[in-house]
């Protein structure tokens, strides 16, 4: 009897946890998009007002963002400084794969971020700022969309998780 009760509890907890996990993934994605936005705004300031080269700008910003963003930016700056013959897009992509794949960003977010990275540095100031502004606008729209999805689907995922658990129990029992 005790084992049966324990089993029921485990199944219910697991299914509810899954529902909550999916709903939190949506919220975490918004946090991660927000983090990209913060990095872009700081980078924009460094370029627009101080004309700071990327190595210096990314090292400075790295101190003002949380992990894994700090590691991501530091790695780019250090590889650039070493001047090992890699192109900037490849440095950016390697660091992105190493540190940002474990965030809640969707593949489409990572792909867009990678495209942005490929254009960093080689453009002139005006175009560089234009490219940041365009990406900021896109991020804004993406975040708005993601927030609507959270409001709409967050509860659904949690209830669905619970319902799936109950359904499994009904089938087993």
């Amino acid at each position: 009897m005790l084992i049966r009760v324990l089993g029921i509890v485990v199944v219910l907890l697991a299914s509810c946890g899954l529902g909550f996990r999916i709903s939190y993934e949506l919220i975490d994605r918004i946090e991660d998009l927000q983090q990209i936005k913060r990095v872009l705004i700081m980078l924009r300031g460094e370029i627009k007002y101080a004309n700071t080269p990327l190595t210096e700008a990314l090292s400075t910003i790295a101190f003002r963002v949380p992990i894994p963003w700090t590691d991501f930016l530091k790695e780019i700056a250090e590889t650039m400084d070493a001047c090992d013959g890699s192109t900037f897009p490849s440095i950016f992509q390697k660091a992105q794969k190493k540190y940002l794949d474990r965030t809640s960003l969707l593949p489409k977010d990572l792909s867009r971020f990678s495209d942005f990275g490929a254009n960093l540095g080689y453009l002139d100031k005006e175009m560089q700022l234009g490219s940041i502004d365009l990406y900021l606008e896109e991020l804004e729209a993406e975040m708005k969309d993601a927030k609507e999805k959270v409001e709409k689907n967050s509860k659904v995922y949690r209830i669905m998780g619970m319902a799936v658990g109950v359904l499994i129990l009904l089938v087993i029992l």
Binding site: I47, N51, T52, P53, L54, T55, A57, M80, C83, G85, T87, F88, L120, G121, Y122, L123, D124, K125, Q128
Partner: protein, 322 residues
């Protein structure tokens, strides 16, 4: 070693490999020229050479390594630390200074805005001039520049690429540091083209002495006046004077009690005398010493030194710098 690495790291992998394979001494390298779809050329021990695909230097074009558009693009990325936007002003002027004090000259398509140069695109020609600091190369001229309790207003006259900036750099260093017999002097340097101090991110890559203040990338006229107002120098040093505005600023500096050391393009005192704007320099005896560098023999040799009246103080004094 650091010097070698500073230069090598601005090139793409293909060119880095050439330098890695080469059996020549990078310390004797003076210039590296990259042109799209043209052979890679270097000036080594005062002579021009091709570089072969195996990294060997040769006087013939056969098997020469040809530079591609992508290699120029990559070089520009490394030269600008992947940040072209941060060097727009330097690119507009046609050169930038990299770590180690080396100068990278650029040419490509010029974008004009009204009557001035706005930018440069399609950069297809790169000339890397390696910074040379030869400490002690001014030893033989220092006695002619120094006087009791100070120095003379001095003009160094030299054709291009004969070592006048190298000489000026060492004069500045020696005046600034001083020695057992002479006290060190506060020297202000207006480094319009970043050649004297070769500052990289504000830090001089060449040694200019412990009492030297540098205004980097600053126009000479404004720079001289700024230094007088802000840094109270005893000596002001400028490179490549020539315009009427330069003359006026120099006279202002001299009237303020500062000593001046300058360089100018020319092959002799007569050459300077023929230039209308510069005639005044000689007529009014603005400078007290004229150092003329040799235009034909080896780089860095001093041909003559004159006093303010044009009397020779020394003739054919041989000071080898390279």
């Amino acid at each position: 070693m650091a010097r070698k690495e500073d230069v090598i790291k601005i090139f793409p992998q293909s060119i880095r490999n050439l330098f890695g394979q080469g059996e020549w001494n990078l310390d004797e390298l003076q210039e590296i020229r990259l042109r799209v779809n043209a052979p890679l050329l270097i000036v080594y021990q005062n002579k021009e050479f091709y570089v072969s695909k195996k990294g060997k230097i040769s006087r013939t074009e056969e098997n020469a390594f040809v530079v591609t558009k992508n290699e120029i693009r990559e070089t520009m990325e490394y030269v600008s630390s992947y940040s072209m936007y941060a060097y727009e002003e330097e690119i507009r002027q046609g050169f930038l200074t990299i770590q180690g004090g080396h100068r990278v000259g650029l040419a490509g398509k010029i974008i004009m805005e009204q009557d001035s140069i706005k930018s440069m695109k399609y950069i297809s020609f790169i000339n890397i001039r390696l910074s040379h600091q030869i400490k002690g190369c001014a030893n033989s001229v220092m006695p002619y520049i120094r006087q009791e309790n100070g120095i003379y207003h001095t003009l160094i006259i030299s054709p291009p690429r004969r070592g006048k900036t190298t000489l000026l750099r060492d004069v500045i260093r020696q005046l600034s540091d001083g020695d057992k017999k002479h006290r060190g002097m506060t020297v202000g340097v207006v480094d319009e083209r970043s050649e004297i101090g070769a500052c990289y991110m504000g830090i001089p890559q060449n040694e200019l002495g412990i009492r030297t203040d540098i205004l980097d990338c600053c126009p000479k006229v404004q720079g001289m006046l700024m230094l007088i107002r802000t840094m109270s120098p005893e000596v002001i040093a400028v490179d490549e004077i020539g315009s009427r505005e330069d003359m006026e600023a120099m006279i202002y500096v001299m009237n303020c009690g500062c000593k001046l050391i300058a360089t100018i393009h020319g092959s002799s005192i007569e050459d300077i005398r023929r230039k209308p704007i510069l005639q005044k320099l000689l007529q009014e005896r603005i400078f007290e010493r004229y150092i003329v560098m040799n235009s034909q023999e080896q780089i860095g040799k001093i041909a003559e030194i004159f006093d303010c009246q044009g009397n020779p103080l020394y003739n054919r004094m041989e000071v080898t710098m390279c």
